[in-house]
Each structure stands twice: as C-alpha cells, then as structure tokens.
C-alpha cells in the first residue's frame, strides 16, 4: 500500500513543481471558454437554448480533466525514456501497485486542474444551479479523471516514442473531446454522430456534470454513472495487464 501512496505522491509533487505547466495547461480551456462561450453565445441564445457559457462550462471542465489525465498517464512514456521507470520495475513491488499509484496520481492531478478551470468558469459568469448536487458533480469529475488516467496509463505502457504520442493526440484524444457533446447539445444530432457520441465515454462524463451542475441531462445520471464506472474498471484492468507486460 505504501508503494501506491508514494507513487501517487510523486505525481502530485511533480505537478506542483511545474508551475509553468500549470499555467500553460489552463490556457487552452480558458481560450475555449472565452472564444466559444462568448463567441457562440448570441447564436445559441437566438436558437432558444439559453446561456451558452452556462451550457459549455461543464464541457470545458470535462475537457480539462480529459487532457490532463491522459497526458499524466502517458507520462509513463517520459519515465520510460528518461529511466525512472526502470527504478520502479526492479523494485520488489507488484506491478499492479505501481500502475495503481501512478494512475491515481494522474487522476488526482487531473481533478485539481478541473477544479481550477471550474473556478475560471465561475469568474467568466458560470453559475451552479443546484448546490446540493455539487458533491455528485465532484464524483463525476473523479470518475472521468480515473477513466482517462487509466486510458493514458494503458497507452503509455505500449507507446515507444513521441511519434506515437502525436498519433494518439490527433486520432484519439481530440475526437473523444469533439465528439462528446462537450460543445453542443446531444439532442437532434444526425444519426451517425449520435451513434458515435453514444459510444464515447466522455459524452457520459459531460452529461453527468451537466445534469448535476445545471440540471440538463441527456442520458440520465444513472446511465452516466454506470457507463463511467464500467469503462473505468475495464480500462484499469487493461492498463494493469499492459503494464505488467513491460520489459525494459
């Protein structure tokens, strides 16, 4: 257990120490919030959908958690290239504990990022409709973070170099974000798009956040929770398996 704790702590320490990275990683969500939130606001309003900043804020928070957790998970790739991974691989600790510690650390970092962006959203005019459900929203944040940190760890266990990393960014992470309904309502989508979003775990994460924070839901909170828990568990198992196969 202490191995899990110390590896979790390492991820946190590294996050806190890279202040430039914290600021840099907040830049993108803020840009999305300002450019889209205020840029598309009037159109959204005219279409009778209400305040767009209010609608898009949960999506932006989910996006932050997605990027942050996948990146932290893929941090495994850096550790592999710069050697520290070997230190943990020769340690007399079951690999399962190592990957759990790392993934939990990555998820925690992603949650902190998500909360920071939530504060930014608040400053930009986002208002929580139902404060009683904030703990539930926090739970969804946690599920999204764990799910995608596990995905990142799984990817990091197989990736060998930076080229692969670009591929993952363009063909996995970006589509997950854009096809999740983070930026637009899921109602009345073209059939094909709606099928794609329904198999995208982030869609359920965004939906969960939206239903708890602003009271708008597409799938329903029970389905959101079930899908997120299920996918997160599967990805954790996959990540552990792939990590246990690593030979240095």
């Amino acid at each position: 257990m202490s191995a899990i704790y110390v590896l979790w702590l390492r991820e946190l320490r590294r996050y806190i120490r890279s202040r430039a990275q914290i600021v840099a990683s907040l830049g993108q969500p803020v840009l999305y919030l300002v450019a889209l939130g205020f840029g598309l606001g009037p159109v959204f309003q005219k279409a009778g959908q209400g305040n767009y900043v209010q609608f898009v804020a949960p999506g932006i928070i989910a996006m932050t958690v997605l990027f942050s957790s996948v990146f932290s998970g893929i941090g495994l790739l850096w550790d592999r290239q710069f050697g520290f991974l070997k230190e943990t691989l020769v340690a007399p600790v079951p690999r399962l504990q190592i990957i759990f510690g790392r993934t939990l650390g990555a998820a925690t970092v992603a949650m902190i990022q998500g909360l920071l962006v939530a504060v930014v959203c608040f400053i930009a005019g986002f208002r929580i409709v139902n404060w009683a459900e904030v703990p539930l929203a926090f739970g969804f944040l946690c599920l999204i973070a764990c799910l995608f940190a596990a995905l990142g760890s799984a990817i990091g266990s197989v990736l060998q170099n930076m080229q692969g990393f670009q591929l993952i960014m363009n063909f996995l992470v970006m589509p997950i974000f854009f096809l999740s309904g983070a930026l637009y309502p899921l109602k009345n989508l073209p059939k094909a798009l709606s099928v794609i979003t329904s198999v995208n775990p982030l869609a359920y994460g965004v939906d969960g956040l939206r239903s708890t924070l602003i009271g708008i839901s597409h799938y329903g909170m029970a389905i959101d929770t079930a899908v997120l828990c299920g996918v997160a568990t599967v990805l954790l198992v996959v990540a552990s398996h792939l990590f246990s196969k690593i030979e240095a």
Binding site: R14, F82, G83, F84, K86, E87, A91, P92, E247
Partner: protein, 263 residues
C-alpha cells in the same frame, strides 16, 4: 551467489545472448567486458529481472528468476547505464521513495539515507531537485540509492560512463570498500580496462553474445600472451569497430527540450 547456465535471449531473429554460463561467488567482484552490442546490458537486464530469458537457467542467491522475481529484487541494488533518478524530485525524496519501495522501515530508512548521502557527499544538497545535479552527482546519488536497502549484490552497468577521473576514482574506492567491509557481491560492466583490472577479481569477456574468455586479469593476459588487459581484450574481440543502432532516446531528449525540458 549468481549462477547462470546456457542463458539465451533472442529478440525476434536477433540473438543478443547466445547461451552463456558462469558463476559468481559470494563476496566476489566480477566484471563483464565486451564491445558495444556484445550483450552486456541484455545480460544485466536478465539478471535483474527486467527481461525474461528466452531459455536457460538463472538463479540468484539460490532463487530462480522466473519463479521468485520479487524475492530476488529485494536482494540486489542496481546502477543503470543511463540515469534512472527522478529529476523533478529532490535527492532526499529520491532516496525516500526507494526506501519505501524496498520496504525499509521508517527509522532505519531515515538513518541510512543520512549515512549514505553523507558518504557520497550529497547531504548538503539533499533538498535540491536532481535535475540541477551534475552527471557525477547523479551517479553518486544512484549508487547511494542502490545501497539503501543493504543489497547482497550490487549490479553496476557502465557506472563510470561520462564521469571525470576524480569521481571515477571515488566511485571505485567506495565499491571496493563496500565489497570488503560489508561483503557485497559486485557484478559490473565497463569499457575501461584499467578499471576492470583495478577492482575485479575475475573478468568475463563477452562478444557476439558469447563468453570468449573468463578468468583473473592476470590469467587473461597469460592466456593471450599480452602485457596489458587492453591488448588482451583487443586480441580476444578483434579490432573492428561495432556500431550500435541508435534508439529513439536522442529524439525524445530533443522533444523534451522543445516542450520546456522536464530534465
């Protein structure tokens, strides 16, 4: 302490280690010499449970690597060819993390970390992030770390690569001291013949994945009828230069710099 029999490692079609056998006695300093790409690092990786042998048997302290890898991991310390310390953590944190991973009880951990950091003259800089350290300091930290859990065997994979003569000298003095005072068995690889001659009691010369000679430095010289170990080595392995294929690591370092350089 280490017993290797007909050890083979293949990567697809390529045979990196082609059936080597040797034994290392408890308390011995054993050196593995060979040109680039001869199979030294692959062998060390198999000995330290990082790679699974394709075939052959490998026991450390009487334990089989395939059956009890975790028990074996408790028994050795290793200094890798390239740095494996975490640059974002301080020297002390790197040591502490290692101690926790190796289940060293808290009280002993605190004592030993101080003792080792003082021994390797890093105590004053224990609160600095390791990425600010010079190559020599990082090496010293790695060795200190490798000794934290009082291993029975110390593996050193080209530990003096890129170090200045002062640091090298200090390093080998420590290794010899540990070997004599604490009876630590040492298994090392190096490119520097003078170092091998200075510290090792027995030397195995490996080339193309096979052991071509095994004996004391004196014995190798006699066997090849040469005056120096370097000549003996060249006679055994030939004078042609070996090219190792480049890894993606250099590329990664480049990328890392571009991305703000975590290290």
């Amino acid at each position: 302490m280490i017993r290797v029999e007909k050890l083979v490692k293949q990567f697809g079609q390529f045979t990196a280690v082609a059936g080597i056998s040797f034994e290392v006695a408890p308390g011995e300093i054993f050196a593995f010499l060979g040109p680039n790409g001869a199979g030294k690092t692959t062998t060390i990786k198999m000995l330290t449970t990082l790679l699974r042998p394709t075939s052959g048997t490998l026991t450390i302290d009487g334990l089989d690597v395939n059956e009890q890898p975790n028990e074996i991991r408790k028994r050795f310390g290793i200094v890798f060819q390239d740095s494996s310390v975490d640059g974002d953590m301080t020297a002390y944190e790197n040591m502490d993390l290692h101690g926790i991973l190796y289940h060293v009880p808290r009280k002993i951990r605190v004592e030993r970390i101080e003792h080792l950091l003082r021994l390797f003259e890093l105590w004053d800089r224990r609160k600095e992030q390791v990425k600010l350290f010079s190559g020599g300091m990082k090496r010293r930290l790695e060795i200190a770390r490798g000794l934290l859990h009082t291993p029975k065997i110390l593996f050193l994979d080209e530990p003096t690569l890129g170090l200045d003569p002062q640091t090298r000298n200090q390093l080998w003095s420590h290794v010899k001291y540990l070997n004599q005072a604490e009876g630590v068995t040492v298994f090392l690889t190096t490119h520097y013949m003078d170092e091998a001659e200075r510290v090792a009691q027995r030397i195995a010369v490996i080339d193309h994945g096979k052991i071509v000679a095994l004996g004391s430095p004196q014995g190798l010289k006699l066997q090849t009828a040469t005056d120096s170990l370097e000549d003996a080595f060249l006679k055994l392995t030939g004078a042609s230069i070996r090219d190792e294929s480049a890894t993606s690591k250099d590329q990664m370092r480049q990328m890392a710099k571009m991305w703000g350089g975590r290290r």
